[in-house]
């Protein structure tokens, strides 16, 4: 029950992030939204772990953290680069 509530809430956060990704307006906003999306899925996985007591997916969370970071760095780096190049 508690897990379900939590999952739904993280789902809502994901949706909020999706909306921000869709409406922008700055590119950085979209990037940030993507970040929030990743973290909310990470959180959902953690909720599942709390619910089931299984840690199978925890290493996956580490990957998510790294990967989310990668996307943000590359995108924001690119935004700057493009702006300065023009």
């Amino acid at each position: 029950m508690i897990a379900s509530i939590a999952l739904i809430i993280f789902g809502l956060t994901f949706v909020a992030a999706g909306i921000r990704a869709a409406i922008g307006p700055t590119l950085a906003d979209r990037v940030a939204a993507l970040d929030v999306g990743v973290v909310s899925i990470m959180s959902a996985v953690a909720v599942d772990a709390a619910d089931t007591g299984s840690t199978r997916l925890v290493p996956v969370l580490a990957v998510m953290a790294i990967v989310g970071f990668t996307a943000t760095v590359a995108a924001s780096r690119f935004i700057e680069y493009e702006e300065s190049a023009t």
């Binding site: 739904i8 990704a21 922008g24 999306g37």
Partner: protein, 750 residues
């Protein structure tokens, strides 16, 4: 076989000079061999199985008819090679000689064929080689057009023939000619019509005659050979060969005789109108072929006999006439009846050749043409009833006209038109001798008519056993009706001919344009169709494809079973699914590139979440990683482009949206229609993975072991894709721009 060797030999000649001499060897050999068999009764066969499963074989049967025709084909062939040497003078003619030789071989194969497929093989071979020969002057667009026309008509006819042969083989139960018995019935009628049409195209019968006059664009040796002795006779020979099989079919003789006589009439009219000597001969050939067709399909013993005789006589005199006109052509540079003048004195040899061969054509004694035509008239006389009268009338009128155009030709060509006589180039023996020989043969043939009869009769008898009782009569006697008709024909024709000698309407190739127009029309239609179908625009192709896929889904609609469906696996699936689709729509709605790419990232995240919900953590993990890389790659690779996507028109956008919705529906329907009574082998899979694969993560074991081959392929795909990325980035811009497209790109773009 000798011919094939000959072709190779000629092509591989180091020195072009003796091309014709070498080429001559093969037909000489076959002519001598065939001549030695004339009149004899023996029959030789040869058979080479090709595709037994399809009853395909190459088989020959050389009997009296084969020998007679082979003498004509090869004998005249020898003379043509001699003539060709004189006609062309010098230059590298290896290709021409080889092609001519190949043609000659094909023609032999055709007349010797004992199998419908062999016959068809050589039938098509003559079409193709004649195409090459007619187009010898390949830089002349008229010659090229004529060659194309000839090829199209004959090959199209060939395919009709093929269809007819297929049906015939079906009815007759065999493909071997000598094993076929007479057939009748509906299917036989179909076969008969198809085969006759095939024969008509080859033998230039109305309305397929249109290719022949145009083919005069060929060098005269070609015309003399193809359009006198050989190719155009193929249709006649075919009708003859089919007579024992299809002669009993009702429509056979009616159709053949009607078309033949009409052609005879129409060809003669054409010959009377033209001012080009060669065209006159061409139209004359059409006319003569009409007569032969009529006789051959008439099918009585006498008619077949007459037809074979005509084939022989025509081959001899028409080749001579062509050669003489060709000689005039190369020595004066003209073939125009209206301008040539004074040739009787300046070219006496050609004159006498024309006179003798012309008289033979007109059917005047003492020339071989006379008894042949007598036989034809007698055969017409033998027909009873109204149709018999009609046939007689037709043959008579046609013959009158034949005499007329012959007279006109000789008179107009050699008359003095006042003014300067036409300049004439030096005499060439090689160009003149063959025609002299042939016109002399006309006389000799008349003199030796009994011998000729001995050759013709067994040949005709192989087609129609009742042909045996007839002979070529040098002098039929004054009590012969046919004789008086003949005399009337000659007299009437001469008067008309003399009168027409002064008149020439401007040359108008009646009907020839129709084929060209048909071809052009076809090309236009093809272009139009292609323009519609192959639009050149990728988005349209994709729309078509999506619509086709949507159509393919229709049967699935009948297989959706609501009992097998459930709304969702987990409620969260519904929520996340909605989010995914919404994000996907955002991808389409966002007009900035990086923005759309980031929205794609959100879709990917959502899909990962769906994977997790579905119980597929490996997929989720991979999807997440992949998604990130793609977003990064997108941003780095394409972020530099102008930020906004171009807008497009309302209609096109509506089409796209409509297509998209249809495609999406189609995919949904397909999935919903799945039966889902999966006989699961999850247990055995799990056991196998753990015991033999040595791992608990089933997906991983499948990927690295059970289905490692797929993974192997998959990583190779990655390698290749990466090499492609590298190659594209290294592609030198200068080289890439090396094939510059014009600025019309934008204009052409819709």
């Amino acid at each position: 076989m000798a011919h094939l060797v000959g072709v190779v030999a000629v092509l591989s000649l180091p020195n072009p000079r003796p091309a014709f001499a070498v080429a001559l060897a093969a037909p000489l050999a076959s002519a001598v061999w065939a001549a030695s068999r004339l009149g004899g009764g023996e029959t030789d066969t040869a058979r080479l199985d090709w595709v037994e499963g399809l009853d395909l074989a190459v088989s020959f049967r050389v009997g009296p008819l084969g020998a007679l025709l082979a003498v004509l084909v090869s004998g005249i062939g020898v003379l043509i090679f001699v003539y060709g040497h004189g006609y062309f003078g010098g230059g590298d003619r290896r290709g021409f000689a080889a092609t001519l030789l190949a043609f000659s071989g094909s023609m032999l194969g055709l007349v010797w064929a004992d199998d419908v497929w062999t016959l068809f093989l050589f039938w098509e071979a003559t079409s193709v080689t004649s195409f090459l020969l007619v187009g010898t002057k390949s830089t002349d667009s008229a010659a090229v057009t004529a060659a194309r026309r000839a090829l199209l008509v004959t090959v199209a006819g060939g395919l009709v023939l093929l269809a007819g042969l297929l049906v015939l083989v079906d009815v007759a139960g065999t493909a071997t000619l000598s094993e076929m018995g007479p057939v009748t019935g509906d299917q036989a009628t179909v076969a008969a019509v198809l085969i006759l049409v095939g024969a008509f195209t080859k033998s230039a019968q109305l309305p397929f005659h249109v290719w022949l006059p145009g083919a005069m664009a060929a060098p005269t040796p070609v015309s003399a050979y193809l359009h006198s002795a050989t190719m155009v006779k193929a249709g006649i020979v075919l009708i003859g060969l089919m007579h024992p099989v299809l002669g009993a079919v009702d429509i056979w003789s009616g159709l053949g005789v009607t078309v033949g006589l009409l052609t005879m009439f129409w060809g003669a009219i054409g010959a009377l109108r033209h001012a080009d000597a060669k065209l006159v001969l061409a139209w004359g050939t059409v006319s003569q072929l009409g007569l032969m067709t009529a006789m051959m399909s008439l099918g009585s013993g006498k008619a077949i006999f007459a037809a074979v005789s005509l084939v022989v006589a025509h081959a001899v005199f028409k080749a001579a006439l062509f050669m003489a006109v060709g000689e005039i052509d190369i020595r004066t540079g003209s073939r125009d009846l209206r301008s040539l003048s004074g040739l009787r004195t300046s070219m006496p040899v050609a004159f006498w050749v024309m006179v003798f061969a012309g008289l033979s054509m007109a059917g005047v004694p003492p020339l071989l043409g006379f008894p042949a035509k007598e036989a034809a008239i007698e055969a017409s006389l033998k027909e009873s009833g109204a149709s018999g009268d009609l046939i007689l009338a037709g043959v008579t009128i046609g013959s009158v006209l034949t005499v007329a155009y012959t007279t006109r030709l000789v008179l107009a060509l050699f008359s003095d038109k006042g003014g300067e006589p036409t300049e004439v180039a030096p005499f060439r023996w090689a160009a003149a001798a063959p025609s002299v020989l042939l016109s002399a043969l006309g006389v000799v043939g008349y003199v030796l008519a009994p011998s000729v009869t001995d050759w013709v009769v067994p040949a005709a008898a192989t087609l129609e056993t009742t042909s045996t009782g007839y002979a070529l009569l040098r002098w039929p006697g004054l009590d012969s009706t046919a004789f008086w008709i003949s005399m009337g024909i000659v007299a009437g024709g001469a008067i008309i001919g003399a009168a027409a000698a002064r008149h020439s309407s401007p040359p108008e190739p009646v009907g020839a344009n129709n084929v060209d127009r048909l071809v052009d029309r076809t090309l236009d239609l093809a272009k139009w169709t292609t323009g519609r179908v192959q639009h050149g625009s990728l988005p349209i192709y994709l729309v078509v494809m999506a619509l086709v896929a949507s159509l393919a889904v229709i049967p699935f609609l009948g297989s959706i079973d609501a009992g097998q469906l459930h709304a969702w696996d987990r409620p969260l699936q519904a929520g996340m699914g909605t989010a995914v689709v919404a994000a996907a729509i955002a991808v389409a709605a966002i007009r900035s590139r990086i923005g759309a790419a980031l929205a794609l990232g959100v879709v990917g995240l959502g899909v990962s979440a769906l994977f997790l919900i579905q119980g597929a953590p490996d997929l989720a993990l991979t999807q997440l990683l992949v998604e990130t890389v793609i977003v990064v790659g997108f941003v780095i690779g394409l972020g530099g482009l102008t930020t906004q996507f171009p807008a497009n028109g309302f209609v096109w956008r509506s089409v796209r949206i409509g297509t998209a919705v249809l495609a999406g529906t189609a995919v949904t329907v397909a999935l919903l229609a799945s039966a889902e009574d999966t006989p699961s082998n999850r247990e055995s899979l799990t056991a196998a993975a753990v015991d033999e694969g040595g791992g608990n993560n089933l997906v991983n074991v499948i990927l690295t072991d059970l289905r490692a081959l797929d993974t192997l392929g998959e990583v190779v795909v990655l390698v290749v894709a990466a090499m492609g990325v590298l190659a594209l980035s290294r592609a030198d811009t200068a080289r890439g721009g090396g094939a510059p497209l014009s600025d019309d790109v934008r204009k052409v773009r819709r």
